[in-house]
């Protein structure tokens, strides 16, 4: 997937709209456009390249989650919004790791430029990372026990569902999108039961 020309998303509202419609090209565009800025910020503030890479992915997950919420209102440039998330995340990580270095992250943005909802939404919990790690491991072991057809359906749904529902309906031989959603639900339910069993053991 190539970086799209600026023309298509020159208007940030259009980009936002595309992201809400789960347009993967828009997602790729947003990811590629802002990466260098965040990596630079981490590297200039006592971070390693690996930490910068991880932080950027985490930042984009949070940003994507916020942006696609129906009640999200963009009150700054998208890059500013992303930078601020990354900045907050990095400050919290530094604090958590007991870095003694003074963090003076020169933001290219002004405080009043930021959406008011962001700091509240970024309630960082130190144990959050460990929890996510645990969740990830649990999920992987659950998926490993899931039947192949179900695993295939869940992977397809989460990896490609955006804008390609018709393709999935055909691929999994379903009557319509509702039938497909029910099938996905049942597969996820099986996964839930496997994981519940594991956690009870």
């Amino acid at each position: 997937m190539k970086i799209l020309s600026l023309g298509k998303y020159a208007d940030e509202q259009r980009l936002l709209q595309a992201l809400r419609q789960k347009d993967l090209q828009a997602e790729a565009y947003l990811y590629k456009q802002n990466k260098a800025m965040v990596i630079k910020m981490v590297l200039e503030n006592n971070g390693t390249r690996a930490e910068a890479e991880d932080l950027y992915q985490e930042t984009m997950l949070i940003a994507h989650d916020k942006i696609t919420r129906p009640d999200f209102e963009l009150t700054s440039k998208l890059s500013t919004f992303i930078y601020k998330i990354a900045q907050n995340q990095w400050k919290k990580q530094l604090r958590h790791k007991h870095y003694q270095t003074h963090v003076s992250i020169d933001s290219p943005v002004e405080e009043e430029d930021m959406p008011k909802k962001v700091p509240e939404a970024l309630q960082y919990q130190p144990e959050e990372e460990e929890m996510l790690e645990e969740q990830f491991e649990l999920l992987q072991s659950g998926l490993a026990q899931l039947s192949e057809p179900c695993k295939e359906m869940l992977m397809a749904w989460y990896e490609h569902k955006h804008g390609q529902v018709d393709e999935l309906i055909k691929r999994f031989n379903k009557k319509d999108s509702n039938a497909l959603k029910k099938a996905v639900h049942r597969c996820r339910e099986k996964l839930r039961q496997i994981i519940n069993l594991k956690t009870q053991q």
Partner: protein, 225 residues
């Protein structure tokens, strides 16, 4: 693992629509109310919600890795482009240097030619100018003795003596430069020049007792070497 569904089909669809944010405001409110009262349903929905988030996260991270790879490819393509431009620039500079060097070489060859030509022997020979009588009222000719510097230049052995007028008259003789640089040898040639203005301004070279009308030398000096 085929289990009986915990909730009816309608609920399965409702939960999926809830997770996808596709419920209307009214449906959403109703859902919240039900979750507030039905703990079993609420727990079921929350667990599906958590799984949905984890699966989404996993899929997104997978896509991010793909974007990173694409970025790397684009960056290396950019770097490769820069390398290609640099290589092209280097080639251009190289060609320029070669051209300059060749030009310089050409100059050197030219200088060498000149240097070799400089090895030609400059001598002063006698010249007789034959011209109409300058005195008023008398017909006839007069002979004016003169001395003229000439370059003696080695020419191929099968050529006849010839001349070329540069700044100084050049005489091409079928002898080696070593011979022409030998003044004793040159004396044996008995060289003298006649410039006959009464015969269409013709030069004649007296050469070993014979007179040769001089023809213009056409060969390039380079071929003489």
């Amino acid at each position: 693992m085929e289990n009986t569904p915990l909730f009816p089909e309608e609920d399965e669809l409702l939960i999926e629509q809830y997770l996808a944010g596709e419920l209307t405001a009214q449906q959403y409110k109703k859902m919240q109310e039900r979750m507030a009262t039905d703990t079993e349903f609420a727990q079921y929905v929350r667990q599906h919600e958590a799984l949905d988030r984890a699966l989404k996260r996993q899929a997104q991270l997978k896509r991010f890795k793909q974007y990173d790879q694409e970025l790397q490819q684009q960056n290396s393509a950019k770097r490769w482009k820069i390398v290609r431009y640099a290589a092209a620039a280097t080639v251009a500079i190289g060609l320029g240097l070669v051209a300059y060097w060749q030009w310089h070489q050409k100059d050197t060859y030219s200088q060498l030619s000149q240097a070799k030509q400089a090895a030609k022997q400059l001598i002063i020979i006698e010249e007789q100018i034959i011209q109409p009588e300058s005195r008023m009222g008398f017909a006839g000719t007069e002979t004016v003795p003169n001395q003229i510097p000439v370059w003696l230049i080695a020419a191929p052995k099968d050529t006849s003596p010839a001349y070329f007028f540069g700044d100084t008259l050049q005489l091409f003789l079928p002898y080696s430069i070593e011979q022409l640089q030998d003044s004793a040898f040159v004396n044996t040639l008995q060289l003298s020049l006649i410039y006959d203005r009464t015969q269409n301004d013709t030069y004649f070279l007296n050469f070993k007792g014979k007179r040769y009308p001089l023809v213009r030398y056409n060969e390039t000096p380079k071929k003489l070497e």
